[in-house]
Amino acid sequence: MTSSLTEPAAQDQLPGTENRPSGKGNGSQDGNPNLFRLLLKDRFATVSAVLLVLIGLTAVIGPALMGDLATKQNLLFANKAPFSLAHGWEYVLGSDSLGRSMLARLVVASRTTFSVAVPAVAVALAVGSLWGVWAGYHRGWRENVSMRIADVIMSFPSLLLAVVVLYVFSPSAGNIVLILALTRIPIYLRTARAESAELQSRTFVDAARTFGARPNAIIGRHVIPVVLPTLLTLATLEFCYVMLAESSLSFLGIGIQPPDVSWGLMVSQGRQYLQTAWWLSIFPGVAIVVTTIAANVLAAWLRIATDPAQRWRLALPRKRLIARIPVKEAKP
């Protein structure tokens, strides 16, 4: 057996390596400062986190800095190619057929994109997690009914559901948030239920029960803190999905409506100028890709970092582990 397989997971089963160095290398076992230090150790995760913060800041304060640049039409500067400062910094990424600055439009669109994705993820996370934890804790019919509902939602193509619903209830940002939240609730519901069902049979929950603690108190004090890291990791991953879904809807013309602008809508609007002004479609797409890749990398890192059984891997000195999209995600 001179094969050079080097799967670190195998180390878990070997004698003498059971004690993980989580306590040794980093001082203490848990806590945020530690997590932050771990983050700095992973180049990719650090870059992703910085990128996400920057894009987030742009979405929050960028539009104010841009003023009316995004809507100001100037036919003298129509269809200017990007990467040229000849027409001033605002046209560095080119301009559209009405002479509006691409840079400014991208910045303004980032706010729309974030203002749909963040609330949608937050709503789905809150509802799905609480529901799932509740269903998993109580088991029985509550669990069965909840899982059936999740199955029904999941077995229908989400985009189609959104298309139908948005056409019925006019495609406003609020409705987009609601429909995206609705279609993603089952993801959190399933995960939270599985974790909570497993936890409720553990001894420490039994112990709390024998002390006479109420179910809601047990759920709040013992179940949710344990489940939360997993769910937050999932939410980071879901942020990508929701962003892509919003972009798809806007692209199909049933998401964000003009004169509002989102990245997906910009790709759609630029499509007809593909032959003459490729940057109109390509740049917003790049913005989407960069943001989702950053969130994906961060989610993959979080998954390892918040799992006490795997955290030691991040402390490995030489061999850097490529962050991966979690495999278990798709399983019920």
Binding site: M1, T6, E7, G16, T17, R313
Partner: protein, 370 residues
């Protein structure tokens, strides 16, 4: 290869002939804290028709030794040195591909947990027949006939209908029988049994041990039995090698080692077995726990738990040296490490001769005076 396979037929190995000889075997594990030595300088030999027991606590390296012999170590483990001479061939020097020819016809292994050791998606017949298909080139039908024969041999009732069942449809004892059948399918010279009865009920354990004994006698196999169970060793094994923290600390014929242990660890183990202990009397145990593999001390591996520990034990690791059968205090200690090949050459009977007892303790002569 053909001639080798034919010479392996049952009865061809002379009884008590040395089949397996392990010399200076060492295994390293690569961990995130650096490389540790899990098996260190292990020597023993197994003889046809006899059982050698590797005895030790969990984590002492006995299973690692077994996997190293069979060439199925985990990916993070490396063979760091030594020879595994099976019937004249050093398996350790072969490439993985060359080794495949020996896996099955020359060497079989039985695992502890039969449920995970059987592939859940194939019928037992398919799995039993696989060895015949690989090594004898049989077709699916012929392999099935062989599988049924094997099942009969290991005492599974109604083999004709059970051959198409899946592993999960058998009881634990029956699964273990299937596992054994798989290991002996091609009548190997050497059978490695890695805790074959640990996961089973006591009554089933006895049946499985009986089956192993029967097969060993039929095929004149050499059996290496890995276990932590002193009673199993006492009943089944002819000789024993006691392992501690990756080292063999004592070896020899079971009757002698158990009646007159020459290493404080062996002695401690034997004393922890409650025989002839009155009700209410204190049970003895060995205080402390084995060292972690990454901080095994420089001197004797057993120093932290040894009641006899002296300065020399902390500075110098005792080698596995022959000890006399009867404790004779004034007999000079032979400085030469046990070298099985040399020993074998010394005697006229060559392969049939057996090395005597050996222990790795600076005070092996004085233990029973304490």
């Amino acid at each position: 290869m053909k001639t080798a396979a034919q010479s392996v037929l049952p009865g061809q190995s002379r009884a008590h002939e040395v089949v397996l000889s392990v010399r200076a075997l060492a295994v390293d594990i690569r961990t995130h804290r650096g490389t540790v030595r899990a098996v260190n300088d292990v020597n023993f030999e197994a003889r046809a028709g006899e059982t050698l027991a590797l005895l030790g606590e969990s984590g002492c390296g006995k299973s690692m030794t077994a996997k190293a012999l069979a060439g199925i170590m985990d990916p993070v483990c490396d063979l760091a040195g030594g020879e595994v001479v099976l019937n004249g061939t050093d398996l350790a020097a072969l490439t993985p591909k060359e080794r495949l020819k020996f896996a099955g016809p020359e060497l079989g292994i039985v695992f502890q947990d039969a449920l995970t050791a059987l592939n859940p998606v194939y019928t037992v017949g398919t799995q039993l027949g696989e060895a015949f298909r690989i090594h004898r080139g049989l077709g699916a039908k012929e392999a099935k006939v062989q599988a049924i024969e094997l099942m009969e041999r290991v005492g599974i009732p109604e083999p004709e209908s059970r051959v198409n069942s899946y592993p999960h449809q058998f009881s634990g004892g029956m699964r273990q029988r299937i596992l054994i059948a798989m290991a002996v399918a091609l009548n190997p010279r050497l059978l490695i049994a890695d805790e074959p009865t640990t996961a089973l009920d006591v009554t089933v354990q006895a049946q499985i041990m009986q089956l192993l004994r029967k097969l060993r006698e039929e095929g004149q196999m050499a059996v290496v039995l890995i276990t932590h169970d002193l009673a199993v060793v006492a009943e089944e094994a002819d000789s024993v090698a006691v392992m501690y923290a990756g080292n063999v600390v004592e070896c020899g014929p079971v009757s002698e080692v158990f009646s007159d242990p020459r290493h404080p660890y062996t002695k401690g183990l034997l004393e922890s077995v409650p025989v002839h202990v009155g009700r209410g009397a204190r049970l003895l145990s060995i205080a402390g726990s084995p060292p972690e593999l990454h901080d095994i001390p420089a001197g004797c591996v057993y120093q932290s738990r040894c009641p006899l520990v002296q300065d020399i034990c902390r500075s110098e690791r005792p080698q596995l040296l022959p000890v006399t059968d009867r404790p004779v205090n004034d007999r000079p200690v032979d400085d030469r490490p046990v070298d099985l090949q040399d020993d074998a050459d010394d005697y006229a009977g060559a392969l049939l001769s057996r090395p005597g007892r050996a222990a790795a303790c600076h005070f092996s002569e004085e233990i029973n005076n304490v």
